[in-house]
């Protein structure tokens, strides 16, 4: 029987706000089904995934540490997505930022360089991410190529570039041939927030980004022009906002925040460059942005939820021998559920009764 999607004119704000919760619920149902199929008790699996981590101070810290990069990247993506520019390549911009920032850490390694190193690394990280993000922006403005494809493909370019560097020129000579750089000097590492533990200064930067982005998106003309360009391009041109500038602007901001997240991660929890510096933060942040309704505060909450899937995934790997891919499945299910929920909020499915074609 044929079905048809019909646009609904009257959408209550409540339904719009509830969509992410419904999506979470659907994800849990699908997850339960998956655990049963894998031969596990879903109640126990959920406890390990989502309840146990919340009771332990160490994992709570870890939760915040994992949420920070998601938050930074997700806030940047909100700029792009509000403008209807689909930057899928935050993972690549993250790597590019990490590489450019790390260059300074490696160049000053073993010297007497002072406290300026880390701030300069952060700036370079942001610049590296922004430049990497501007490539798909340029290709779109100049040649009209789809930024979805180009930004995604540049992820792999960046990752392979990093791989080459840590296996080649930037490899630690005393590293027993492991593909990794030297461990950064103290001046090139993110300071810890509480003397010990895992919380580092990058978390403060991420929270600052939320505040600034909330203000810029909600209260300034720049934020308005981004929203307008995404919502009605011709009206934006009529209002005098240059489409190209918006494209470059949102890609630069989003790339810069992703690059910043990259260098913070390398100079923080990791402490050196290695072939893999992200468990897919750049992609998971897309889910955080969508789940958070493209609002910085919403993304803050969504980042914590998604960080939980990472933590729970690690715990489940250990105690239930579930592969890490289960976490990926969770995240993917969540993205599909949130996108579907959005469609179902805006549209209504109607059955088209027995069409009589002549």
């Amino acid at each position: 029987m044929p079905l048809r999607l019909e646009r609904q004119e009257n959408i209550s704000p409540l339904r719009h706000a509830l969509a992410p919760l419904v999506a979470l619920l659907v994800t849990l149902v699908v997850g339960a089904f998956m655990f049963v199929v894998l031969g596990h008790d879903p109640v126990r699996a959920f406890a390990i995934y989502f309840i146990d981590p919340l009771g332990d101070p160490y994992t709570l810290q870890e939760l915040v540490v994992k949420a920070a990069p998601l938050l930074l990247i997700g806030v940047g993506l909100a700029f792009c997505y509000r403008a209807n520019r689909w930057n899928i390549g935050a993972e690549g911009q993250y790597v590019a930022g990490a590489v450019l920032g790390s260059w300074l850490a490696l160049a000053t390694h073993g010297t007497e360089a002072g406290g300026w190193v880390l701030p300069a690394m952060l700036v370079l990280g942001a610049i590296g991410g922004a430049l990497w993000g501007l490539i798909p922006a340029f290709l779109r403005v100049r040649f009209g190529s789809s930024e979805i494809l180009t930004s995604l493909m540049l992820v792999y370019v960046a990752q392979l570039g990093l791989d080459y560097l840590v296996r080649g020129p930037w490899r630690d000579p005393q590293g027993f041939n492991f593909p990794q750089s030297v461990t950064f000097d103290d001046v090139a590492l993110m300071p810890l927030l509480m003397g010990e533990g895992r919380l580092h200064a990058g978390i403060v930067i991420a929270l600052l980004a939320v505040i600034v982005a909330t203000f810029v998106l909600g209260r300034t003309l720049v934020g308005f022009s981004i929203e307008l360009a995404g919502s009605a391009p011709r009206a934006a041109a009529f209002a005098g906002f240059d489409e190209k500038r918006v494209t470059y602007g949102v890609f630069a901001v989003s790339g810069a925040l992703a690059g910043l997240a990259g260098i913070i991660e390398v100079a923080g929890p990791i402490g050196q460059l290695q072939p893999t510096i992200s468990p897919g933060y750049g992609f998971t942040a897309i889910i955080a942005a969508m789940l958070g309704r493209l609002h910085p505060v919403g993304i803050l909450i969504a980042s914590l939820v998604l960080a939980l899937t990472y933590i729970g995934g690690e715990a489940a790997q250990i105690s239930m021998r579930l592969p890490f891919d289960v976490t990926r499945v969770f995240q993917g299910t969540l993205l599909i559920a949130i996108l579907a929920a959005d469609v179902l909020v805006r549209y209504r499915i109607r059955r088209v009764e027995g069409a009589t074609h002549a």
Partner: protein, 521 residues
Amino acid sequence: MGEAPHQPESLLEAVELTKRFGALVANDRVSLAIRAGETHALLGENGAGKSTLVKMMCGLLQADSGELLYEGTPIVFPDPASSRAKGVGVVFQHFALFDAMTVVENVALGLPGHQPLSVLAARIDDCVRRYGLAVEPYRRVGELSVGERQRVEIVRCLLGDPRVLILDEPTSVLTPDESENLFRTVDVLTGEGRAVLFISHKLDEVRRLCHRATVLRGGKFIAEVDPKRESSASLARLMVGAEVPRTPRVTTHALGEPRLLVRHLNLPGDGSRGSALHDINIEVRAGEIVGIAGVAGNGQTALFNVLSGETLVEDQESIVIDKVAAGGLGPTERRALGAGFVPEERLGHAAAPDMRLSDNVLLTTHGDGEIVTADVIRRTTLFGRFQKIVKGFDVRFGGKDPKARRLSGGNLQKFVIGREVLRNPVLIVVDQPTWGVDAAAAGFIRTTLRERAAQGCAVLVVSQDLDELLEFTDRIAVMSEGRLTAPVPVEETSREAIGLAMGGAHGAHDSDAEGEGHHAA
């Protein structure tokens, strides 16, 4: 009325159809019977429910209650294909044609089954001869004028051999000359025993052409009358429900400085119809309203975009706004010079449909320094301006601050005009000020523009509605094929003279008007 015996059997009849959209009752128990061999007019203002009724009659919408009768027996059209199969053809106001394809290819796409293009082309030629519709099968649709495109749509419908042909506001895009040709075609069609439903708000043509007229107002059936026995004024009363006010023309004040000066303005265009401009010259002085008449698709949109700064021209001097050369300035800079612009398309161009109305105020006011300072939006000032527009221009809507999409056309247009007027511009350029707006709102808009002119504003109005231009402008120029005639004072010109200039190179005998390029198949 109504005592007329049921002479010819009705072909398609709507019985007490009701359709609701949320709280709005678009059609409230509306009945209408179309009879074979008759031209039936459906009259009503915008928002009266004409389109909803037509969509229910052809299966695009389903009625909430009431029924459709086909030759006296109840029938349900679940989709347009099923109504087409029963011989109900519709030509909508917005054409569904592919610009890049030829006429015959477009026609082939709309017909069920497969036919060789050559056979189809022969059938088109046949149809063209029989009904006097000038259409060349192998021309690319992108090169056709709006009138020609409409004929393509009609031909496409006729090839399906419809018994009922519904024409949705067909003359709104035609020159007077083209309209005459269409009327002849309609007469031939009814002569063959087909029924035509003719939707219009132009009373003169309804009185000339139609055998019966059904009047809708506010979604309700008002009357079925014999238009030949009515006067235009009495029909207007039925449509509007009150006397229709006319805008007083008072140009007693002296004209001031030229606020807009366009000299030798050229635009190459992208090859599609109406995208190029050739040597445009016009001057609008403070205190006057200058009108630009013309059939849609003759370069008016290109001209508007060039004036508003959405399209930039190389020759900086070709556009002068209040003594400043502005050809290379963007929209914000031109607004800073005191210009205000109102585009034709309200949703998507003049306003962002999915943004709240108050946010839509920002579109043209963000550069004025009052609402946005140092890049920060001052919400209270913005909301104050929003309420001033709403109150001062009688913008009506449900809720406190709805999305622009939720407003009716007339109310959104009042908002858009109000947004510009309250900026106190020295020059207003308006494209289609009253397109799709009910008579009361249209009168209000014209009066407002008139007042602004009296206060020293220069107003340039682009419109396809000749009556409107004759009613409230001081001078009229005519646009045709990307060229503009010199403006003539209204009292020195006539409907006929303007109509002739509007026709320019098209009309029935236009095949050689634009020589090159139409052999390509």
